[in-house]
């Protein structure tokens, strides 16, 4: 057993009524890392995190946290992890302070004892400590839930979609807080459906249909993008995707925000030929520019390469 490993899983499988949620997942996560599970809804993120935190039993395979088996040593695991479920599990009718006090209480600690851990986060919501949790904004609820999950100084923190339903500014703040927590030597597992959050993690695993499709450091994933990326716009966006896909030099085209992304075969120097091609198809005011790939583009690119 490698002492540097915080979380390990081997051949984890789980199915609900014959439908596979997880298919033979194996991975190891190092201590002190901020690890992201990224994938769309239904990819199996929540099931995986619930198996790791001992709330679910896998159909087959084994998992351990800090060397404790998630099935047999679940009582020990429950002492050393902090968990924040998908819905912010707060008592809506209790005030901010009462919530925190309660969660400190059930983990046999006090707010005072571990205040230094949550200070950064809790100071944002402390002015509202007498407000009921149900009346907080999404971002504040999220901070309170994180404070509650942290109050007992866990060694491993498991956060299930903490940024879903939270505004962009709060999301940014939240990731900064996680970075700071990492400095306290807490291993953090986060799941998120937002690909753009991948770059905030030390390492990410891209999940789809119960499998880990890709796992790497964000920079490496970016580096693996060894092609050009062009953004295309025209006056007829609706037909554009089909027409570009039919273009002979197109390797991959997909929609992204208000433009289309185009990954060409090889180098795309004679881009005028595309404009000419599109004009024959009836597109006007075609705008073409090369853009820097984001981690999202890299995911799509590599997924395509795998298929």
């Amino acid at each position: 057993m490698n002492p540097e490993i915080a979380v390990s899983a081997s051949k984890l499988s789980k199915s609900y009524q014959g439908k596979n949620a997880l298919e033979s997942l194996s991975f190891e996560i190092e201590k002190g890392s901020l690890f992201g599970f990224i994938g769309p809804d239904g990819a199996g993120k929540t099931s995986l995190l619930r198996i790791l935190n001992s709330l679910l039993i896998p159909d087959s395979g084994k998992a351990s946290i800090m060397g404790f088996d998630t099935v047999n040593d679940y009582k020990k695991i429950r002492r050393i992890i902090g968990y924040m479920p998908g819905k912010f599990s707060l008592y809506q009718d209790l005030t901010v302070e009462e919530n925190l006090k309660f969660f400190a209480g059930i983990f046999k600690t006090t707010i005072k004892e571990n205040y230094h851990l949550i200070q950064d986060i809790y100071s944002h919501i402390e002015p509202f400590k007498n407000r009921k949790a149900g009346q907080l904004s999404g971002g504040m609820k999220q901070k309170l839930a994180l404070s509650c999950a942290l109050i007992h100084k866990p060694e491993v923190l498991i956060l299930d979609e903490p940024t879903t339903g939270v505004d962009a500014v709060s999301r940014g703040e939240f990731w900064e807080m996680l970075q700071k927590l990492k400095a306290q030597n807490i291993t953090i597992l986060v799941s998120t459906p937002y690909m753009d959050e991948a770059s905030r993690c030390d390492e990410v695993a891209l999940m789809q249909a119960g499998k880990i499709m890709l796992r790497n450091e964000p920079e490496e994933i970016l580096k693996a993008f060894d092609a050009e990326l062009w953004s295309v716009k025209s006056n007829r966006m609706f037909e554009l995707l089909k027409d570009i896909s039919d273009f002979s030099k197109t390797k991959l085209a997909y929609r992204s925000g208000d433009h289309l992304c185009l990954i060409p075969e090889g180098k795309f120097t004679e881009n005028n030929s595309l404009i000419a091609y599109l004009e024959t198809k009836g597109h006007q005011s075609v705008r073409l520019e090369q853009i820097r790939p984001t981690i999202e583009d890299s995911f799509i690119y590599q997924m395509q390469a795998q298929n």
């Binding site: 009462e98 059930i106 983990f107």
Partner: protein
């Protein structure tokens, strides 16, 4: 543990609806059952078709009104008016006194007074006719003694509740229903709420042991249920003058036992339901209805078909009502109710064990 119980009390005090159910309901129910819903006849309006119109028929009519149970609504002159009187809805019973009433009586010959009832409400019709019959029998007996001795007379004594007060029946029933409601339904809902809100996930992940979670959830409701029982007893004692002939201590101890039993049923329900709504419906149909229908509170168990009677033996409420009546009205001691107590105790143990077996330390996703 302490923090948990405090939290639970906060939930209850913060929720107006819960507070209303907990504290408004007992008072409302006792008052309702005590005053409004009553089986006693009071000033039922009747009409008389007096075909005799002699002194004896008048005497009989006076006897009827003097009882205080009836008030005369109309004197009918013809049998065709009987139907009309009922259709108007103002009359519950028509008493038809035959012609030559006095003469027939004087001759010592049998005569028949006809009672016609509005049986669209069968219970009331039954009651009114039996009250009237009783008065008629009394009248007849008086007439008999003047002429000849009656062969057999009955003398009825109503023990334990000589005035046949409905309240004496309703108070034990109301206590039972309320304890069931507060203990079983409220606990099952409050545990199901944790599951629904997702807070149960965090509770499970915490080092709290299952029994701590359960005790923390249950304790506040034990207290509230007990306070409720006290309130009902005090109201019954002061407002409705219901006696407590037996030991108050024994009564309270039995009440506490019943509360624990109801809580264990609530716990069991919460282990098999994942949403507040399921918990509520289950408590309603599995607990409340049988409690009301099969406990002998509203409908006498003795008159039910055999299968229902067997089923009623499984109703803890039936035994508790027997216990409460035995202590309050008959003043019996523990020696006389140990069997009923044992049944409730057994049910409590059964449901606690079942709940512990069913309580999941993990999530139960299918």
């Amino acid at each position: 543990m302490k923090g948990f119980i405090i939290k639970e009390f906060l939930h209850i005090f913060r929720d107006l609806r819960t507070m209303l159910i907990l504290f408004g309901m007992p008072v409302a129910q006792v008052l309702l059952f005590g005053f409004a819903i009553t089986n006693e006849i009071n000033h039922a309006s009747i009409a008389v078709l007096d075909r005799a119109k002699d002194s004896k028929s008048l005497e009989l009519q006076q006897k009827l009104t003097a009882s205080g149970y009836f008030k005369f609504n109309a004197q009918l002159d013809h049998s065709t008016e009987i139907e009309k009187a009922f259709q108007s809805g103002k009359v519950k019973e028509v008493v038809v006194i035959p012609a030559d009433f006095e003469k027939t009586l004087a001759l010592g010959q049998p005569t028949a007074v006809q009672l016609i009832n509005d049986a669209s409400d069968p219970n009331t019709a039954n009651l009114i006719s039996s009250y009237t019959t009783a008065i008629l029998m009394d009248f007849a007996a008086n007439e008999m003694t003047q002429n000849q001795a009656m062969p057999v007379t009955t003398e009825t004594t109503m023990l334990y509740n000589p005035e046949l007060k409905g309240v004496f029946m309703f108070v034990p029933g109301t206590i039972t229903i309320l304890l069931m409601l507060v203990s079983a339904m409220m606990t099952s809902i409050s545990i199901a709420r944790e599951k629904e809100m997702g807070t149960m996930e965090v509770l499970l992940i915490s080092p709290l042991k299952p029994y701590q979670i359960i005790l923390g959830k249950v304790m506040p409701y034990v207290v509230f249920s007990f306070v409720n029982a006290l309130v009902i007893l005090i109201m019954a004692y002061t407002i409705f003058e219901m006696p407590i002939n037996g030991s108050l201590l024994l009564l309270l101890a039995e009440t506490l036992l019943f509360i624990l039993m109801a809580l264990s049923m609530g716990l069991f329900i919460s282990t098999i339901s994942n949403t507040q709504q399921t918990a509520m419906l289950l408590s309603m149909f599995a607990l409340m209805l049988p409690t009301i229908l099969l406990s002998g509170f509203v409908f006498p168990v003795e008159n039910m078909p055999d299968p229902l009677q067997w089923l009623s033996h499984l109703m803890p409420s039936k035994w508790f009502i027997i216990i409460v009546k035995s202590i309050m009205l008959k003043g019996l001691g523990f020696m006389y109710i140990w069997k009923e107590t044992l049944i409730i105790l057994a049910l409590a143990v059964f449901f606690v064990l079942l709940s512990i077996k069913n309580f999941e330390v993990r999530l139960n996703l299918k």
